[in-house]
Point group: C2
Chain length 462, copies 2
C-alpha cells in the first residue's frame, strides 16, 4: 500500500472544469446598482476581459495554457496521501485520503488561481496587480505568482496583521512584492479613514477598497485588481485539485469516495476538490459532499440565501449567495480565512440544489482535531484546514459505528507553520467555544433588507 499516490507531470489536468455548465438550475446573474444583471463590460476597469470571459463562461471545459502549466509544475501534480496513521489511531474501517495542497511554495492552494490570474493579466497587457490580504495567505500567493509571471504586485495588508504577523509580509517581500499596511496614505479611501481614525487596526473591507481604488485609478490603465476566492473563475482554476484526486484514486483502483470534505471560507479550496465530484453526483453517484465552516461564521448553515455585496464597502456587484450581511463582523477566531460574510455563488447554488450538505464545527473541536493530526500524521495544518480534519474525524468515527469501509477524501488546504499563534492560544487554554448568537442573525436580516434584490430568488424574479 502506498501512502503517497503520485501523478506524473504528463498526467496533469490540461483543462479546468466549469461546474456552471452542469448545474441543474442555471446560475443567477450578479446584479448592478440598478438591480439589473451586470454587463461584462462593466467589470473591465477591475478585471481584464480574458478573466471576465472565464467568469461568465458557459463552457464545461476550458483549456489551461501550456505556459501556466509550466509554472504549476513547480509543485503540481500534488500528492494524494492516505492518512494511515490517523486511521490506526481512530481504529476506523474508513480509508482516509487527502489532497495535499500545502506543498506549493506559499504553502496553500491559493497559487492555483494566483498563477493563472497573473498570467491572464500579463497576456492582456497589464503591468501591475493590486490586492488585499488579511493574515497574508492570499497576498503571499499573489506575490509569488506575479514574480514568476513578471508583473508588479502591490498588497494592502490589514494593519493589525501587518504589525503582528511580520512573517507573511517577509514572504511577499522575498518574492519582490510591495506590501503596505492598510489603511495607507496612498489612496483616498485610506486617507479618509486615517483622518477620522489615525490608530485604526484596519479591516479587510478597507483594504479591498484601497486595492480596487488603486487599480481603477491608474491613469495608464495598466493596473488591475485580483481576488483570491468567491468568483467563478477562481473556483474554475481550483478544479485542478479535484481532477488530480480523481485520477489518483483511479490509478490505485480505489472506488469513488463516499464522502468529500473541504473547509469553506470564500469557498475556493472546497470547490476545487468538490466540483469535479459534484459532476459525478449530478450524474447519479452517491457521494456526500461537505463544506465545513466555523460555528462563529456559519454562512452556509444559518445565513439566508440572498443577493448581497461581496465587500463591506458595497463596491462589488450584488452576488446571489448565502450571506451573514456585508456589514457582518465575525468574532476573532484564529481561522482568518473562514471569516467571510458570504460564500462563492457556485458553492451556494450547490447547497440550494442539495448537492452539498454544509456543516459547522466549533474552533475548539477543530484545534483538538489539529493536535490529533499533528501527533498522528505528524504534519501541522492551517487553522482553516483543521475544520476539514475535524469533519473527517467525525465521518471516520461514524463509519466505525456503522461498520462501513467508507472512502473519505478531504482537502488539506494548507500548512500551519505561519499560524502557530492560534495553536498557542488553544494549548494555553485561551480559546473558548463560540456559536453565533441568534441576535446576530437578526442584524443580518436587517442588513439584507436594505437591498430589495435580496429576496429576488424567493420571488422567482430571476
Amino acid at each position: 500500500m502506498d501512502r503517497k499516490i503520485l501523478l506524473h507531470e504528463k498526467d496533469i489536468p490540461k483543462k479546468w472544469y466549469n461546474l456552471a455548465a452542469d448545474l441543474p438550475t442555471p446560475m443567477l446573474p450578479p446584479l448592478g446598482p440598478d438591480g439589473n444583471p451586470v454587463n461584462p463590460e462593466m467589470l473591465t476597469p477591475v478585471f481584464p476581459m480574458n478573466l471576465i470571459e472565464q467568469e461568465v463562461s458557459p463552457e464545461r471545459w476550458i483549456d489551461i495554457p501550456e505556459e501556466i502549466l509550466d509554472i504549476l509544475y513547480r509543485w503540481r501534480p500534488g500528492p494524494l496521501r492516505r492518512a494511515v496513521y490517523l486511521e490506526r489511531y481512530l481504529d476506523t474501517p474508513a480509508k482516509i485520503y487527502y489532497k495535499d495542497e500545502s506543498t506549493s511554495p506559499p504553502g496553500s492552494h491559493k497559487p492555483n488561481t494566483a498563477v493563472p490570474q497573473a498570467w491572464y493579466n500579463k497576456q492582456f497587457g497589464i503591468e501591475r496587480l493590486t490586492t488585499e490580504t488579511g493574515a497574508g495567505q492570499w497576498g503571499s500567493a499573489l506575490a509569488f505568482a506575479c514574480k514568476l509571471v513578471g508583473l508588479e504586485c502591490k498588497v494592502f495588508m490589514v494593519r493589525i496583521s501587518f504589525d503582528q504577523k511580520p512573517f507573511r509580509k517577509l514572504m511577499m517581500q522575498t518574492w519582490g512584492a510591495n506590501c503596505i499596511a492598510s489603511p495607507s496614505t496612498e489612496t483616498n479611501a485610506g486617507r479618509a479613514i486615517l483622518e477620522k481614525m489615525p490608530d485604526t487596526p484596519g479591516s479587510l473591507g478597507i483594504a479591498i477598497s484601497e486595492a480596487i481604488e488603486q487599480a481603477v485609478t491608474d491613469p495608464a490603465g495598466k493596473t488591475r485588481y485580483s481576488l483570491g476566492s468567491v468568483l467563478n473563475h477562481v473556483m474554475l482554476h481550483q478544479t485542478i485539485i479535484g481532477q488530480e484526486a480523481k485520477a489518483q484514486l483511479k490509478s490505485i483502483g480505489e472506488k469513488m469516495p463516499d464522502v468529500v470534505i473541504g473547509c469553506a471560507g470564500g469557498g475556493s479550496n472546497f470547490a476545487g476538490l468538490a466540483f469535479p465530484f459534484t459532476a459525478d453526483k449530478i450524474n447519479g453517484a452517491d457521494i456526500e459532499i461537505i463544506p465545513v465552516e466555523p460555528t462563529a461564521c456559519p454562512t452556509l448553515t444559518r445565513a439566508p440565501f440572498a443577493y448581497d455585496f461581496g465587500d463591506t464597502a458595497c463596491t462589488t456587484p450584488l452576488l446571489p449567495m448565502y450571506s451573514l450581511g456585508h456589514d457582518f463582523v465575525p468574532p476573532p477566531i484564529h481561522a482568518g480565512g473562514l471569516r467571510y460574510h458570504g460564500m462563492a455563488p457556485l458553492v451556494c447554488q450547490c447547497v440550494v440544489e442539495g448537492l452539498h450538505t454544509p456543516r459547522a464545527i466549533d474552533q475548539i473541536e477543530c484545534y483538538e482535531a489539529a493536535i490529533t493530526w499533528a501527533q498522528t500524521e505528524g504534519f501541522i495544518c492551517a487553522p482553516e484546514t483543521s475544520h476539514a480534519v475535524a469533519a473527517t474525524i467525525q465521518e471516520a468515527k461514524k463509519a466505525k459505528e456503522e461498520g462501513k469501509e467508507k472512502v473519505i477524501l478531504f482537502n488539506y488546504s494548507g500548512h500551519g507553520l505561519m499560524d502557530l499563534t492560534g495553536y498557542d492560544a488553544y494549548l494555553s487554554g485561551k480559546l473558548d467555544r463560540y456559536s453565533l448568537p441568534d441576535e446576530m442573525l437578526e442584524k443580518t436580516e436587517e442588513c439584507l433588507k436594505k437591498h430589495p434584490q435580496a429576496e429576488a430568488r424567493k420571488s422567482g424574479k430571476w
Copy 2:
C-alpha cells in the same frame, strides 16, 4: 522530462550506509580525559548501548528496522527534483538536481536521525530524551520523533531564541514536548549561571550542559541525551538521503553526478547526501564533493585538524576533527545551524583524505543566491541551505564557462519559512560581508594547545 523524480515506498533504502567501513585510513578514536581511547561503556550514562554500538560499528551496512521505516514513510522516500527554472535563468548547460529534505513535518533533514534515535532509546527502555536547541530546528525534529515513538521530550532552548523565535517553540509544544529557556533553574549548571548572570541570553554550550546533566542525573536511569549532528551514528542515519538520490538518478537513466554539494555546520545533511557518493569516489568515480560553510565560521577551510572537545563546557570526549577551538564564538550570522566550532569527524577524515573539497562562502552571496532561488524555483530555503544553493550557482556558472553538460546534485536541507528574519535583515541592507580575521585563528591555536592530544595525528601517535 519530469521535474520531480519519485521513488515508490517499496523502494526506500532498507539499510544505512556506514562510510567508516570504506575509508582508506581507519578513523581515529575519540579520547577520554586521560588521553586514552574512550571505552564504549563510558558513554552509557549519556546514550543507550544500541546507539553506542552504531557509533563504533565497523559494519558497512546496518539494517533499518521496519518500525522506523513505518514512521519515515510519512515523508520518505523524499523527492529528487530538477531545478529547471534556475537552469534556464542561469542559461547553463549543467543539469541541476536537488534532494528535497524540506518535506518532513519539521521542515528539514533532522528527523532522519531524530526518529531512529528516539526509537532505539525506546527499545532500550528509556522513557525520556533531553536535548538542546539553538534556533529550534533540531529541538522541533526531536519533539516530533519522540511524540511518534512514545517518549517524553525535554528541550533546553537558548533563552534569546526562546524569547525571539516563539514559532519553533510552539511547534515543539504542538508535538507535546516540554521546551524551556536555558539557562533554567532546573539544573545545577543553569542555576550556577543564573546566579552569576541573571540576565544572560544563554548559549548553546550552556544548554548542552543542562541537557546532559538532566540525562545523567535521572535517579531512575530512564533518561538519555540526544545529539542532532557530529556523531557517527547521526551521519549513518542521514545516508538514506544519498541512497535515495542515487536510486532516483538511476531510475531516469541519469549519469553519476559530476558535483555533489551540501552545506556543513555539524556535517550531517552534507554527509547524508555525500557519503553514498563518497563510496563511489573511493572506488574511482570522478566526483567533486563539496561541503560548504560560511566564511564567518570556516572550520574545514581554515581551522587546524586536531583533537578537541565537542562542546564549550568540555564534557564530551575529545574528537578528531577540524576545529576553530571549543571556546570559539562565531559572529552572529543568520545561518544558526552553521555556527559550530567543529565538524563531524567522519567528514573531517574525508577532507584529510582529499575525498571532499570544502568551500567557504560569504553570507551576502548566500542570501543573493537564496533570493535568486525564491524568484526562479519559487521556494524559500533555509539560511543554512542557501550556502548549498550559492555553491550550486557557482558550479553551474563554471559549467557554462567550460561549456560542459555537468550533472550537479545538492542537498536542499530545509525550508526557510521559520527563518524569515534573516531574509528581512538581508533585504533591508542590515547584513555585511564577514570573513573571520586571522587574529581569531590565533586564539584557536591557543585553545587547542591546551590539550596535547591536539597534535596527536601529526605525531602519528594514533
